[in-house]
Amino acid sequence: MGTEVVLSSPTGDSLLENGVRHCVDDICVPVKLFYGHVLDLAERCDVLFVSRLVSVEKAEVATYTCPKLIGLPDMVKSSIEGIPRMVEFVVDLQEHSIRSSAKRLATALGVPQPRVRSSLAEAELVQAAYDEKLLAGVEPEEAMRQVLGNGNGTGNGGKDSSARKPGAGRARKPDIKIALVGHEYLIHDHYISHNLPAKLKRFGADVTYMTQVPIEVIESELARYPGISWSYEKELLGAASHFLGRSDIDGVIIVMGFACGPDSIISEIITREVVTEASPPLTTLVLDEHTGEAGVDTRVEAFVDLIRRSRNRS
């Protein structure tokens, strides 16, 4: 649309601390992170772009994201002082098309309407390319770099920060395969997850993400577990069911944020309705702002050992 885009910095100590300071104690850690990213941007932009994800599919029986994602702009607007003007990008596919959201966005940004069609078409192409990368197993940050060039062409989004990433180190040759199930904003936030994917690789595991499961596969798995109206949790459930039924997967880790409402329910549904005798081992890793790297190391190492031991036995 012709605006210059500024992205927030990768999560770090002070960003997280700022977020935590502005949030209610018992809210989930991703919201605290979001606040941190908003504050990180506050002085570096003229307009703050915040998405309001209400419903992300048009379905016969309406589905929704999580109450906190629906209410995110309300929270930001009412509780952080001194932030730039905020524009909302509402995604409510159950009620209206993405095009009409884009039109409203253009109005709010003062962008001429004729530009909407071309920019939306381009955005859709980029999104498709990005989705394809994810499907092929590329991590979101890397996929974005590949698709958009240097993050967004403004030079600050895709900074190569691998040197500072916790958990980085030489991987050993993988002998087991572990699937990760959980919100992307947790698993792929290297700071809060202590770079879980790289850690697993270091422990000799080949890692596969739920973003690598095609949507048709998820849909067909879900046919066995109807009655969930949280769109992202449906994906979690479908992906978990897929992984738990695959013989080449040696273990599944559900990664959830402390105080995540939907995950507290869906992880219980997965362990009680999906897991069978034949399923590979499953564990849950709960992350919050107090989780130390040592704690994650211990959990991951124990899980990997368990897998190797049970395999040697059989």
Binding site: P67, G71, S78, S229, G261, S264, I265
Partner: protein, 358 residues
């Protein structure tokens, strides 16, 4: 059929009447206590919200008392409550209990309707019609008694009289077998309530609105009977919700409830623009209205990690300053203590008295 359901304030009174009129034997577990919560917490997912754990504890007790059927509302909702029944019943089966589930909302109405085909004598339709009528009657009686006690409590000469008359009255209504007997029990209890000796207050009583997550507001086991405690401190309590409204809101038959809901959404809209699936509209609007009515303060109750109320809690400070009304946020979990709660309440009440003097 020996049926049971989790507690929610005095809802067991109309619900028992509904089910027993449908020919079921109703098992009412003891009112939830800390022990119930501990029992539930033992089997519940660690990070689930508190009402889940209390409900699960109620169910465990009911099964130990011999229930063979558990009923629960359920369905596809934006919040966790919609999944309670499904997950709780699975947990209880995994523990080893065998029972039949009635999940109202998840199963179609027809399924629930037909569940009672064998228990109702004579016409099923007529059985339902009668059961619903007595349900409504009991709910109205319960509501009338709760309201009457709320009015008298701050002014009673002898502390606790209103609450004990309320308890007796509710017991009478609960035991009544017919609609006529229900009416008689209600009339009698209201008469006794009327005759409670009152005295004019030493000072103008404070008005406090109570808002928040529905279960935290309505279940005394969760909120340490906050309504009674405040009332007996000589404070006029205005809860935004009642068990009656909670029971009848989903039925969409009472126009005044529907109008109120719509209005509440409209008033809350500048603060929370979309439906979040909880009581967010009543929390925000209840606070705004408390200010408009000139009340002294608002108490906001919610279970630890409650999603919609976490959002409200984030936004309430803005409402508080825009409308100049003090709000006390009380977050409840299984470790909350009555002493801690009492201290915070007293400090808040002192603050409000101080404010009024100025």
């Amino acid at each position: 059929m020996k049926v049971s359901f989790p507690h929610m304030g005095n809802a067991y009174i109309p619900l028992s009447s509904l089910l027993s009129n449908l020919g079921a034997e109703v098992i009412v577990p003891p009112r939830p206590t800390r022990k119930t919560i501990d029992m539930g917490a033992l089997h519940a997912p660690e990070f689930v919200c508190l009402p889940f754990k209390v409900n699960l504890g109620d169910n465990l007790r009911a099964l130990q008392m011999g229930s063979d059927t558990l009923a629960m509302v359920s369905g596809m909702w934006a919040c966790r409550f919609g999944y309670y029944g499904r997950v709780q019943h699975q947990i209880l089966r995994d523990v080893g209990f065998e029972f039949d589930s009635i999940l109202l909302g998840r199963e179609g109405l027809g399924t629930v309707y037909n569940k009672f085909r064998d228990t109702v004598e004579g016409s099923l339709l007529r059985g339902w019609a009668h059961a619903v009528r007595s349900f409504k009657h009991k709910a109205e009686a319960m509501d009338a008694l709760e309201m009457a006690a709320r009015k008298v409590r701050p002014f009673e000469r002898e502390r606790g009289s209103a609450s004990s008359v309320l308890a007796d009255g509710l017991a009478g209504v609960h035991q009544a077998q017919t609609i006529k007997a229900t009416d008689a029990a209600l009339r009698e209890a209201l008469g006794v309530m009327d005759s409670i000796e009152t005295e004019p207050p030493a000072r103008e009583p404070l008005d406090i609105a109570v808002v928040g997550e529905i279960y935290a507001v309505l279940e005394p086991a969760l909120n340490f009977d906050i309504e009674r405690k405040l009332g007996e401190m000589g404070i006029i309590v205005h809860p935004v919700m009642s068990v009656y409204k909670w029971l009848f809101r989903p039925l969409k038959i009472d126009p005044s409830i529907l109008v109120d809901e719509r209005l509440a959404r409209r008033i809350a809209k500048p603060y929370i623009a979309y439906v979040l699936g909880g009581e967010e509209h009543q929390t925000i609007t209840g606070t705004i209205r408390a200010a408009r009515h000139g009340y002294d303060g608002v108490i906001h109750l919610y279970p630890f990690t409650c999603m919609p109320e976490n959002i409200c809690r984030t936004i309430l400070p803005r409402v508080e300053s825009e409308f100049d009304i003090p709000v006390l946020n009380l977050c409840l979990d299984e470790h909350a203590s009555p002493a801690g709660m009492a201290t915070r309440l007293e400090a808040f009440v002192d603050l409000l008295r101080e404010r009024r003097r100025r």
